[in-house]
């Protein structure tokens, strides 16, 4: 997938931007609060319909304008496509692909992988972050996952409602349980399959990027016991039902669901030791970077095409050696990258096309 043009109007401090694609690596350089991240945010919005910074579209309109507009032309599997998003105050959001109104789940939309400094805590942080990571990717990749996850969340809330109101002895609670287990197993199955793809991709990437001999493995960690080496829908459903029976009392006292994929985790092992506990901070960062790169490659593997790679201020968080390695990797990559960075002394040596971002303007910098 290649972004060819991007027009932005009245989006945060970006009043009038007409971007023409540079090379596959695009570097946006500028001081703080000049609009670098806003540029990435605009691309992200075309892909997901949501911002990664705020839930309110009102906040995204430039303060004295009535609407914002983001328009892009891009190439996807050798097809030329365009998408347009605009938001009017009091008029809501409209999204178009090739001039036709479309939902944000449309298969021809732009796809992105966003690498944000918070992602560096993926290994060390709480399990919810790792589940959010899986959910985000799988929702981008699979309509089916979106459907099952939505159903699962709905039935989970209903189940918690029953537990809260102490209605667990009723006939309806056992029906809720049946549907709960069924939807849960669908969600888990997709997560498990995706994790094994990630695991395959991460192995060689980690060795190349970390330049360490350590071996990285990724496993999906189910939060209830499964007494079988084989995993399929039936096995998951039976194991989950058993665990629900075992934890009946505990669920009743705690009044919330203690079984299900909303409690699962993603485990990283470095030489068979849990990285969250045993790996050094530097190694944990390496794993996080590897994971993000693996996310990119998984789109290629599953959907047949690379998404755009957006890196927001990640360079500053990496040491010089890792920064150089990452830039080298991005320079020759088959995917298109947009990265932001504050100005620093090595800027002239940066590979790719450099843009200076100043007070909401984008200026292409030519180095001789």
């Amino acid at each position: 997938m290649q972004l060819q043009t991007l027009q932005i109007r009245n989006f945060r401090n970006l009043v009038n931007i007409d971007y023409q694609a540079g090379s596959s690596l695009n570097v946006l350089v500028g001081n703080n609060a000049q609009g670098k991240t806003n540029f990435l945010e605009a691309i992200y919005l075309l892909s997901t319909g949501k911002s990664f910074r705020t839930a309110l579209d009102e906040d995204l309109i430039q303060y004295n304008a009535g609407q914002y507009k983001i328009y892009s032309q891009y190439q996807m599997k050798e097809r030329k496509l365009s998408s347009l998003l605009y938001y009017k105050r009091a008029g809501g959001k409209s999204f178009f692909i090739n001039n036709k109104e479309a939902p944000f789940t449309h298969s021809d939309r732009l796809r992105v992988v966003l690498f944000h400094p918070d992602d560096l805590f993926l290994v060390k942080g709480p399990p919810s972050g790792r589940r959010a990571f899986l959910d985000f990717v799988l929702r981008q990749l699979s309509l089916e996952y979106q459907f099952y996850l939505e159903n699962y969340n709905k039935i989970l809330r209903k189940r918690n409602f029953y537990l809260k109101n102490e209605q667990t002895k009723s006939k309806s609670f056992s029906i809720i349980n049946e549907v709960f287990v069924e939807q849960a197993s669908r969600v888990m199955m997709q997560r498990i399959q995706f994790t094994s793809i990630l695991d395959e991709i991460c192995g060689p990437l980690y060795r190349a990027f970390s330049q360490e001999k350590n071996h990285l493995r990724i496993r999906y960690a189910i939060s209830f016991p499964v007494k079988s080496d084989k995993i399929n829908l039936d096995i998951l459903q039976n194991a989950m039902m058993d665990d629900i029976k075992n934890r009946q009392e505990k669920e009743r006292t705690r009044k919330t669901s203690l079984v299900g994929p909303h409690l699962d985790d993603l485990h990283f092992y470095q030489d068979d030791r849990l990285a969250r506990i045993y790996a050094s901070q530097g190694q944990q960062r390496n794993i996080a970077v590897t994971l993000k790169l693996a996310e990119l490659h998984s789109y290629k593997r599953i959907g047949g095409e690379y998404p755009l790679f957006l890196l927001d201020e990640v360079l500053a968080e990496l040491d010089k050696k890792r920064r150089t390695l990452l830039l080298e990797y991005l320079k020759d990559a088959a995917f298109q990258t947009f990265l932001t960075s504050v100005a620093w002394e090595g800027i002239d040596q940066l590979p790719g096309t450099v843009f200076a971002v100043q007070e909401g303007n984008l200026i292409r910098r030519e180095f001789s």
Binding site: S142, L143, E144, F147, N151, K154, I155, R157, K158, Y162, Q167, S170, K171, S172, I175, I176, E178, V179, Q183
Partner: protein, 196 residues
């Protein structure tokens, strides 16, 4: 500018209807003002008639203006088949297939998140319909998670009486193109595949 009070009232009332926004309501109201008086009276009367003369059949829940409804009165219908639907409008769709059994209409769409307990759903009339002559109950709920939950609930009720329960197959629309089917529908069609 302030509109005359009766016109404003009409616009307000119309815009309460589903799918009708303020602009459409205004257009409809202005159109009504230009209609011949007789037609307007007919329109108003037909709204009143429909609202107060049509009610759910006390036996099956289908919308009717006489009790019991024409389907319940129809002696030609196959009384061994009972099809359960969420809304009376679903009957119209199923009738077009030539189905000749009887119906039971829930007259409410169960909403997992808003509704309280499943057992709050009044199933007394439904149980009344499960006479020994019924040999098969067909659950024709919408293919959503809410439809799934309600199907299972009704299943337990019918099962207690020892009657066979079936549900509609999920799958591809006829005349459609596999290439354009979404993956969820296609997977369900695969899982429900039949030997030929």
């Amino acid at each position: 500018m302030r509109l005359p009070r009766p016109l404003e009232n009409l616009i307000d009332q119309l815009s309460k209807l589903p799918t009708i926004g303020p602009k459409t309501a205004q257009r409809l109201a202005l159109y009504i003002l230009k209609m011949p008086g007789g037609e307007v009276k007919e329109l108003a009367q037909s709204i009143l008639d429909a609202r107060f003369m049509v009610y759910p059949c006390p036996i099956c829940g289908n919308l009717t203006d006489k009790s019991p409804c024409i389907i319940c009165q129809d002696e030609e219908r196959d009384r061994s088949l009972l099809c359960v639907v969420e809304e009376a409008s679903d009957i119209l769709a199923i009738e077009r297939t030539g189905y000749n059994g009887r119906y039971y209409v829930l007259n409410r769409t169960f909403r997992l998140m808003e509704d309280g307990d499943l057992t709050d759903i009044d199933t007394e009339n439904f149980q009344q319909m499960l006479q020994p002559i019924v040999q098969e109950v067909i659950l024709a709920m919408n293919p959503t998670i809410d439809g799934e939950v309600i199907s299972r609930y009704l299943h337990t009720i019918v099962e207690e009486k020892g009657i066979k329960v079936t549900r509609l197959a999920h799958g591809l629309p006829v005349g459609g193109d596999i290439e354009y089917a979404d993956e969820i529908t296609l997977r369900q069609a695969l899982e429900g595949r039949k030997e030929i």
